[in-house]
Amino acid sequence: MKPIEEAIPVVEMRNIKKNFGAVQALRGIDLALHHNEVLGLVGDNAAGKSTLMKVLSGAYIPDEGEIFLEGKKAHLSNPMDARRQGIEMVYQDYALANNLDVAANVFLGREVVRIRLGPIGVMDHRHMEQETKSLLNRLKIDISSVRQKVERLSGGQRQAVAIARSTAFNAKVIIMDEPTAALSVAAIDKVLDLVRELKAQGSSIIIISHRLEDIYQVSDRMIVLRQGRKVSDTPVEGDIHEFRERVVAYMIGARDDFREKTVAG
């Protein structure tokens, strides 16, 4: 039998609304993510995927709606605040400092301090390098040295560093916005392997991708957004062709599982 806490979603977003001027980017979206689940978030351009995840990661404050973390109501006032509460976002453009090395990026903003002299903290380089090393090993990320500058890494390696960084501090949920968008085919496979590895190690993940085969390969469940609304929330199953047809039908508006609810509400 599962422990009780696993029945409570890690993240629950209820009736999230967000407007940008006249644009209704999110029109009342519900989303739940369960423990050790990979949730795929798909939808056409401008459907509201990034906005929804920016709300969850504290970058946007929603106009309406509530967010619960492990059943408790959460207030996320900015990205750092969300991060402290266990919500990690991997940004589309990696958000790494290319002039720093791998270990420095993994610990950026959370440096381990050895001695504190007033406002000046002396870093524990060795500790951070070792932690980074074992993190990369654990996630089977192939980077020869944690002292390599990020600018010398390939696109796939950079994405791996960005993802590793998001897992380094016991995150409750890891959000990835288009983690494969800028990558070569070989690098995409590595990133997807990494997502599977994270799931195997117990992480809960939300992944946005416009590549439906990525979602199909790694997700347990999938939510489709269309014009700021949720139109589908189903397990990922069946063969890839059938899956693709189904998703496209939702994306273009041919199918909509939540229409009645919207009309009624």
């Binding site: 750092m80 400092a97 720093l100 959370r110």
Partner: protein, 394 residues
């Protein structure tokens, strides 16, 4: 990997860092030959160090400013202005030197915070904000010296910062005419350096981190020790270590420590590398901007003190073109115009390069107009070198 291969790889990967040492070495050799050895005489080298002082401290501050993708054009006249304020404080207000120096440094910090307020809070490009500072401080300098002209500073303690030397230990019969305390300090520095390197290496080895091959490591120890020893020997042959050199060493060591070992330093480089990523990681970019400009202001004040002390006076044109020498020193020393890259040690070497050029060309009797053109050429060469080595590194 063989020794030679490894050495080649090291040079290739660190060409930016070695480049300026090579440049300095070549410049010194050329001047040594063209001045029949006059340039590398103890006396001239000691002078060179003292002349480098007021540019070097500016270059150290400028390094951090450029690292966070800004620039500060106001530092020269701010230094000149604050030097004049120091002179007035001692001459007209009769304040003791121990009050004047901290006061001037604090004024420098305030001036730096004023700049960072314009840059970080109001979003004015640093180029524009500090150009206004350049004009404003220049005007202020002329204004406070208009009635007096050059202000002679009678305070010997103050002037010693720019002209004096550390005292020697009493003569014990050996090495007459040599500044023994300087030699002892040199030996101490070598010992500290070697023990530190050995301890670090052993610790790295214990935790399975990559380390330099033994051959290269030994070479590095020998080279740096010889360099420190050589400099100490040359300085000891004249009057020893000057107070200016002591001040510069303290500044460089302090800033090197902050930039390489502390969280603050890490955050400064992160802001330079990717401000958005830094902000998303919880680093307050504005705060870093304030700290960096405040430090620049304080070092401008220090530069003004060193310069006024060296001239034993405050002049109406003090600080003219210091900003350009400091910026050039930073670029020659390996700071990247794109931000995020550069070390204070490098900028010290860069400052030495710039002052060597001035000093050497003066000794050769080269006309000042050619001197400007040569220095312009060196600056452009440094930036081209930067751009070329960056694109090659990718």
């Amino acid at each position: 990997m063989s020794f030679i291969n490894y050495a080649q790889k090291m040079v290739r990967e660190n060409i930016r860092e070695y480049g300026m040492f090579i440049a300095l070495f070549i410049i010194m050799m050329v001047f040594a030959i063209t001045t029949n050895g006059l340039f590398i005489s103890s006396r001239n080298l000691v002078n060179l160090v003292n002349q480098t002082g007021y540019i070097a401290v500016l270059a150290v501050g400028m390094t951090l400013v450029i690292v966070i993708r800004h620039i500060d054009l106001s530092v020269g006249f701010l230094a000149g202005f604050l030097g004049a304020v120091a002179a007035i404080a001692m001459v007209s207000w009769h304040l003791p030197v121990y009050v004047v120096i901290p006061m001037i440094l604090i004024l420098g910090i305030v001036a730096g915070l004023f700049t960072s307020f314009l840059v970080a809070q109001l979003g004015i490009p640093a180029f524009v904000a500090t150009l206004a500072g350049w004009l404003g401080y220049r005007g202020a300098l002329q204004l406070i010296t208009i009635s007096t002209g050059t202000i002679i500073i009678p305070n010997e303690t103050f002037n010693a910062i720019g002209n004096g030397f550390i005292p020697d230990i009493p003569d014990i019969g050996i090495l007459p005419g040599v500044h023994k305390l300087t030699l002892i300090l040199g030996l101490l520095a070598i010992t500290l350096f070697i023990t530190n390197e050995l301890i670090t290496r052993r610790r790295m080895q214990k935790h399975n981190f990559e380390i330099l091959p033994a051959g290269i490591f030994t070479l590095k120890l020998v080279f740096v020790s010889a360099l420190i020893g050589g400099i100490a020997w040359i300085l000891a042959g004249y009057q020893g270590l000057s107070w200016t050199a002591v001040v510069v060493l303290i500044v460089v060591i302090l800033y090197d420590f902050i930039t390489s070992k502390t969280v603050l330093g890490r955050h400064i480089y992160a802001v330079g590398g990717n401000p958005e990523a830094a902000e998303l990681s919880g680093i307050r970019v504005k705060k870093i901007t304030h700290v960096v400009f405040a430090s620049m202001g304080m070092l401008s004040a220090l530069s003004g003190i060193l310069f006024a002390a060296r001239l034993r006076s405050a002049t109406t044109v003090a600080g003219t073109l210091f900003e350009l020498d400091a910026i050039a020193a930073a670029f020659v020393g390996g700071v990247s115009a794109a931000g995020g890259v550069g070390k204070v040690m490098g900028s010290l070497i860069g400052a030495l390069v710039m002052t060597s050029l001035t000093s050497g060309m003066n000794l050769m009797g080269i006309d000042i107009s050619y001197q400007y053109i040569v220095r312009a050429g060196v600056l452009v060469a440094a930036v081209i070198f930067d751009v070329a080595t960056r694109s090659q590194g990718k």
